[in-house]
């Protein structure tokens, strides 16, 4: 079955509109509805080649991973909210925060950075800004993969990440330091490489394969924007 490949701006619009609506619409019903949509989206596997990306096509395994990531990331927020607030407040804020987390998790899995750059350049944005935004969105999977490699390397050297809290803290330190240092080192080298490959401020990049932007999707983005505005006005009145 061929998947639907949404334009990057449409993906950004959906991922932006869901948290916005979660905070605008009355809780808990409004936030619960947006969270339901966001969680369903995390179940749709992404289409980023080699990991998870833009293709909304069947197949549940990558989606379950996205759902699990969203739930595990949001869980600590629920814990602290419960400690600080009563149940109704916890519910309303927790649902909203979880919507934000789930939307972001879905966006990271669904958005191909290269397509975003192409789309932004075709729309007249600066290539440097487009790259910056795309690189930020792709930083999560890159850091995750690097952390996995470091954990494997540390395990080879006998470090155990299981056991009591002290052992886990030691393992965390052994992961965090190389992760931060290697990321900083790579940023340095990547800056040099990107400069020499012409990614400098003020360039007029040629879009190589700008993603198609059908009228339906453009209309859908306007509908999402208007829906947010309408909900905001309705809430304020």
């Amino acid at each position: 079955m061929t998947g639907v490949r949404l334009h990057p701006f449409t993906l950004l619009a959906i991922a932006g509109a869901l948290p916005a609506l979660a905070w605008i619409l009355p809780a808990p019903a409004g936030a619960a509805a947006t969270l339901a949509v966001a969680l369903v989206l995390t179940l749709t596997p992404g289409g980023r080649p080699g990991s998870a990306g833009t293709r909304l096509s069947p197949g549940w395994r990558p989606g379950l991973a996205g759902l699990r990531t969203a739930v595990l990331t949001a869980a600590p927020f629920w814990l602290f909210l419960l400690l600080l607030h009563d149940v109704p407040t916890t519910l309303s804020i927790g649902l909203r925060i979880t919507t934000m987390v789930a939307s972001f998790v879905w966006l990271v899995a669904a958005l191909e950075p290269a397509r975003l750059v192409e789309a932004m350049v075709a729309a007249g944005w600066s290539a440097s800004i487009a790259y910056l935004l795309a690189a930020t969105l792709s930083a999560v999977p890159v850091l995750k993969a690097r952390a996995q490699r470091i954990v494997e390397a540390q395990r080879c050297r006998g470090l155990s990440s299981r056991g009591g809290i002290a052992a886990r803290l030691r393992a965390l330190r052994a992961l965090a330091l190389p992760l931060v240092l290697s990321a900083l080192h790579e940023v340095d080298e990547r800056a040099l490489a990107l400069e020499t490959r012409g990614l400098v401020p003020g360039i007029h990049r040629t879009p190589l394969a700008p993603p198609p932007d059908p009228v339906v999707e453009r209309a859908a983005r306007w509908v999402l924007l208007l829906a947010c505005l309408f909900a905001l006005i309705r809430r304020l009145m």
Partner: protein, 258 residues
């Protein structure tokens, strides 16, 4: 015609007091291949960054002296995996990243990319995801990505570090081809045995300063061999206690024996 001229160039990295380059004067002409040799920390990589206009513009630090570039430069850094754009899911797109940034028309981008892929024997890998390639394949992709931007001055920092024997031979042939096309090539390498066939001139750097400049015969010089920078043949000849001048290559050694 000179493509690159350095006159009395000294360079300090940020927050350091002693210069990494000291009063370096060097010229590289179009169609010429100049090799930088030296021990680790001699300043060859920094010299390439200065030549590429990345130091101090991107790295920070301070440059004294004069640097003049006639052509646009492209530099191939030694670690290919940090040079990927991260914005391409095929080798073709990765190679096209630079030309697209130059704003060239799409047909010109396609022509340069296809040419670079052919030169580096990467056509069969054109649709592969760059992150799935081996180190050697990735190094060839990065070299192709720089060549596709058609730089007049090509700078290589340890270009053979990730390559196997076949890939290395292809690289040296390619560098010779680039010089024949009129490009200026400046390379820092520890693959000293290749230089007699590849380089037109060799520059010996020591502690950031130019210690000697000469033809590739320099790599059989007694002082160079004492510094561990001679070719394998010259080094073995010296280690065997045989009299100088040391032969540079196997062919020279055979001639000497006869």
């Amino acid at each position: 015609m000179r493509s690159l001229t350095l006159e009395g160039a000294s360079f300090w990295y940020p927050a350091t007091e002693s210069p990494v380059l000291r009063d370096v004067s060097l010229e590289v002409a179009q169609g010429e291949i100049v090799a930088l040799v030296g021990a680790l920390g001699a300043g060859a990589s920094t010299l390439l960054l200065v030549a590429a206009d990345l130091a101090p513009r991107v790295t920070g630090g301070r440059l004294a002296g004069a640097v003049a570039r006639r052509d646009r430069s492209g530099i191939v850094l030694p670690t290919p995996w940090t040079q990927l754009s991260g914005m391409a899911f095929t080798v073709w797109d990765e190679v096209a990243f630079g030309p697209a940034n130059l704003g060239w028309p799409t047909h010109e981008i396609a022509r340069q990319v296809d040419r670079a892929l052919e030169q580096l024997e990467l056509v069969p890998l054109a649709s592969r995801n760059p992150t799935t390639l081996s180190g050697g394949e990735l190094q060839r992709v990065i070299i192709a990505a720089i060549l596709a931007m058609d730089p007049g001055l090509v700078l290589f920092d340890e270009p053979a570090a990730e390559l196997d024997a076949d890939g290395t031979r292809t690289l040296w042939r390619l560098i010779r081809l680039l010089a024949n096309e009129g490009k200026a090539v400046l390379l820092a390498t520890s693959a000293l045995d290749a230089l007699p066939d590849v380089a037109d001139r060799v520059v010996w750097l020591e502690d950031g300063a130019v210690r000697a400049v000469g033809k590739p015969d320099l790599l059989a010089d007694v002082a160079v061999c004492d510094a561990g920078l001679g070719t394998s043949v010259a080094t073995v000849w010296r280690a065997g206690g045989l009299p100088g001048p040391y032969p540079l290559t196997v062919a020279h050694a055979v001639q000497r024996w006869r």
